[in-house]
Amino acid sequence: MRKITTIKKKKIAVPKDSICGWVYNDTVKEHFMYPKNFLTNDEEYDADGVGMVGSPACGDMMMVWIKVDKKSQKIKECKWRTFGCASAIASTSMMSVMATEKGGMELNKAIYLKPEQIVDRLGGLPDRKFHCSVLGQEALKEAVEDYLKHAKNSKQK
């Protein structure tokens, strides 16, 4: 089994008024550098629902795994992995926080989660990076639908 190492927080010095400074705000930066709920080894992760989408616009791929509390029909855990860019990482990280905070998001709310809500919570993304926030949200929707399909099938059995 591969060992998962945690990266220690380190301050990265970016010169003030630098012409090559970040176009991203601090929240986006934080979620990009220290992504929350990132899953490296999915083989041993027993998910209730899996979603995978790819954005042909930039070659990004996104996977989302969820665990669902059967009784409350809320998302207990939301893990993800992407080959995407900084914005895709930051927005999916934020999305995973939104899906699991305050006791977990209800499934029908997760299906209809809007990219605009994620972008709002990130404090904004450049317009040309908006599509990155769609990626995680689409994968989460697929994961919920995957869970609901399986739940329905096992009920029929």
């Binding site: 995978m52 042909p56 616009a57 209809y112 809007k114 605009e116 317009d127 908006f130 689409e138």
Partner: protein, 236 residues
């Protein structure tokens, strides 16, 4: 993490100019047709093998129509290539994708469309009328000029025959008067509120540029419309 995309071959069987820089490609399936819900979009590519290169376009036909219609605005190199297609040219479609459509229990719908953002609504409205769904629809449709309005004649025809459909046209850079143009300003939520009387118990669908969608959603939220009653789709 590879996902295969199933592409279906389609042939261009009709091309129609809808507005300045907007055409509709009417496509017939070469092998198998795709089953879709009004409001969904597809991935369009010009090459069968190229796996990732393509763009998403909303379907502007409704499911019972014989030909699959995609209405495309010329903005970049890919859409320009689609504008240069001729009758009998081949394109590849995969999908459908998306969930930007009303559910059966919604009976009071408010649609906000900016420019080519009309496409999902055009499909959904035709579908609602075709299936005789008893749902009230109010469409706020904004464009820069009169010449930018896609489906102008078709929408007016649908509205004149269906009392449940009301259309409010907005133009932002054109002052030429037309009896059907309600406003020569951007869509303003106070004006919308006047038309709707009450903003509660309705479902709002917004489609357009990222800025238009974000701004309209924020205006609705400010008026205490609930987040779960707002549905969005932006193009980028």
């Amino acid at each position: 993490m590879q996902k295969t995309v199933n592409k279906s071959k389609f042939v261009v069987s009709k091309i129609k100019k809808e507005a300045d820089n907007v055409i509709t490609l009417f496509l017939s399936p070469k092998e198998k047709n795709i089953a879709y819900t009004a409001g969904q979009y597809v991935l369009v590519s010009l090459n069968k093998d190229e796996d990732i290169h393509g763009k998403f376009y909303t379907i502007s036909s409704e499911p019972s129509e014989d030909l699959l219609a995609l209405s495309i605005k010329k903005v970049g190199s890919f859409s320009s290539a689609l504008h240069n297609l001729k009758i009998n040219d081949v394109i590849y479609i995969s999908g459908p994708y998306g969930s930007f459509y009303p559910t059966p229990e919604m009976n009071d719908l408010v649609f906000f469309a900016a420019g080519i953002g009309i496409t999902p609504f055009f499909s959904v409205i035709k579908d609602i009328i075709k299936r005789k769904v008893e749902s009230r629809v109010r469409l706020f449709y904004t464009n820069k000029t009169l010449r930018d309005i896609s489906f102008f004649k078709e929408i007016n025809k649908l509205a004149s025959k269906n009392p449940l459909l009301e259309v409010f046209y907005h133009l932002t850079r054109d002052t030429s008067s037309h009896e059907l143009i309600k406003s020569y300003k951007r869509i303003n939520i106070n004006q919308v509120q006047e038309e709707l009387k009450d903003l509660r118990n309705k479902n709002y669908y917004i489609c357009g540029t990222i800025g238009f969608v974000a701004d309209t959603r924020k205006q609705l939220l400010k008026k205490k419309v609930k987040e779960e009653n707002i549905f969005t789709e932006s193009f980028f």
